[in-house]
Subunit: 333 residues, 2 copies
Amino acid sequence: MSVRALAAMAAKNPVEPYSYEAAALSPTDVEIEISHCGICHSDLNVIANDWATSVYPLVPGHEIVGKIAKAGAESGFSLGQRVGVGWQRSACLTCALCLAGHENLCAKQQAICVGHPGGFADRIVTDGRFVFAIPDALGSAETAPLLCGGVTVFAPMRRYGVTAGSSVGVIGIGGLGHLALRFLRAMGCEVTAFSSTPQKREESQQLGAHQAASSTEVRDIRKHAGRFDLLLSTVPARLDWITFIQTLKPNGVLCLVGAPPGLLQLPAGPLLTGQKTIAGSDIGSRAMIREMLEFSTAHKIGAQIETAPMSDANLALDRLRKNDVRYRMVLTN
Amino acid sequence: MSVRALAAMAAKNPVEPYSYEAAALSPTDVEIEISHCGICHSDLNVIANDWATSVYPLVPGHEIVGKIAKAGAESGFSLGQRVGVGWQRSACLTCALCLAGHENLCAKQQAICVGHPGGFADRIVTDGRFVFAIPDALGSAETAPLLCGGVTVFAPMRRYGVTAGSSVGVIGIGGLGHLALRFLRAMGCEVTAFSSTPQKREESQQLGAHQAASSTEVRDIRKHAGRFDLLLSTVPARLDWITFIQTLKPNGVLCLVGAPPGLLQLPAGPLLTGQKTIAGSDIGSRAMIREMLEFSTAHKIGAQIETAPMSDANLALDRLRKNDVRYRMVLTN
């Protein structure tokens, strides 16, 4: 079966039409007829080979929604069922981490777009054990970005016990950050948005923030000293972490879901005296993706999207490169 | 009532005989006739004014054990009762953190030796709400170092859920680190000691470690890649944190209880992909001190000490400065 896809033939190339033969389905595999695919910042990273793990031709796309076109006998899915796939395509499912429900930390985990073709395509064959049923109440286009961006910000909220009344700051109001604002508002939190873009600071209140501040002006950040139980940073940029740490309460957590380049520079003293924590978080487990989809259904949460036909993928990628998307671009077939 | 103490009259001075008039007892205060006082590395810091908070004349000493000589009517203590005091002398007891049992994080907390005279003395008047009954089974000299050093390493073990079977590394085998080895071994952990001192690495197995490694040789540290649930650093020194982070399992925690000078340099990538955590911990709450004393009683844990008469305090301080103590110096009256 031939898949019509879009692929970057080398690092930093635009994507271009590319066909490949899909593998035969194993008993746990499914073939998905893709209707929507979100574009995540990490698609730009893998196209550019920023992490030195890319394999070309590279078919990007890992926020996939579509319908089951073929279902392996043991997949548990039925034809026509609406499903989604995120960043992770597989794990060993036998190591201690997998058995404990942390398959997103499995040493043998594989990603959809790294060494395997992704969702910039009309279809994909992938392991049904990492495919998720989409609840009927959720729209396909608005849900595609939840599969990666959504769970990436939702998982640390659960891990760090965010609940009604928690004070949470979100740094970077893009594809991930705007979803964080929506989740946090629905959880009953006191929500602060930090963005370097004045217009996004204005828009952040419609997205769920109670207040907004600059992510780059030290004086603006300092006004929030001692405020946050959790500070969630979605930006792959160097920021003034020393000042941001001062915005945490004692026992507060700065959780990074975007990786800044180079080394973080952090003072040890404020970590000790306020028992503060710096941590990273990496997408989410399958249980967390299900929980996030249920929460999104209950609270009517989806991404704020712009759509473009799959054929305009290069224009869409360029708009993301220019930080010009409000707030997630979703390609449609 | 005149207290006969030893005080540094200015930063970095030796201590010298110094008398002061103790305040009258409030209803919650007690007067303790001091029998033993441990010497902690932070006594060197406050004598040297390393944290720019010292007030002179400065009476060091905050690992105090003695007997109740006077008891305020509301103190709950009785004359002759054996008690101990650690680093913290007071907190507001009304803020949200205090009410939640985190008085060690109270913004208004005060330390024994900072602006108040400490335990290098024949007696001390202090708030009985931060004084702890010493269980009969524990020796006074071996218990004094538990009040600060002990709880400082015990608290993060509880906070991070250390339990039988946990793999824990301890960096720096001094006053704090040797107690960490003893606690961890009693908890049923797999225990690894990291020290820059070859002789301490040899001695660490008698203290509870299953194995020992250099804390400064990268090749030695790397042999423990992916090993630890918790890595507890007791050293106020710059180490190769990038390599140490590689010794953590996914979801592992590097907890600092000693503050390295300058800025920590940390890569964000390994924090994200393994969901690793860097955090600080600051002494422990009153509940944690009680729990630690109960644990020490049940498992017969005390500090490995050397004793010296109070009059030899300067010699004892110098030995600590030279990293020549095995493993905690305790002054006796």
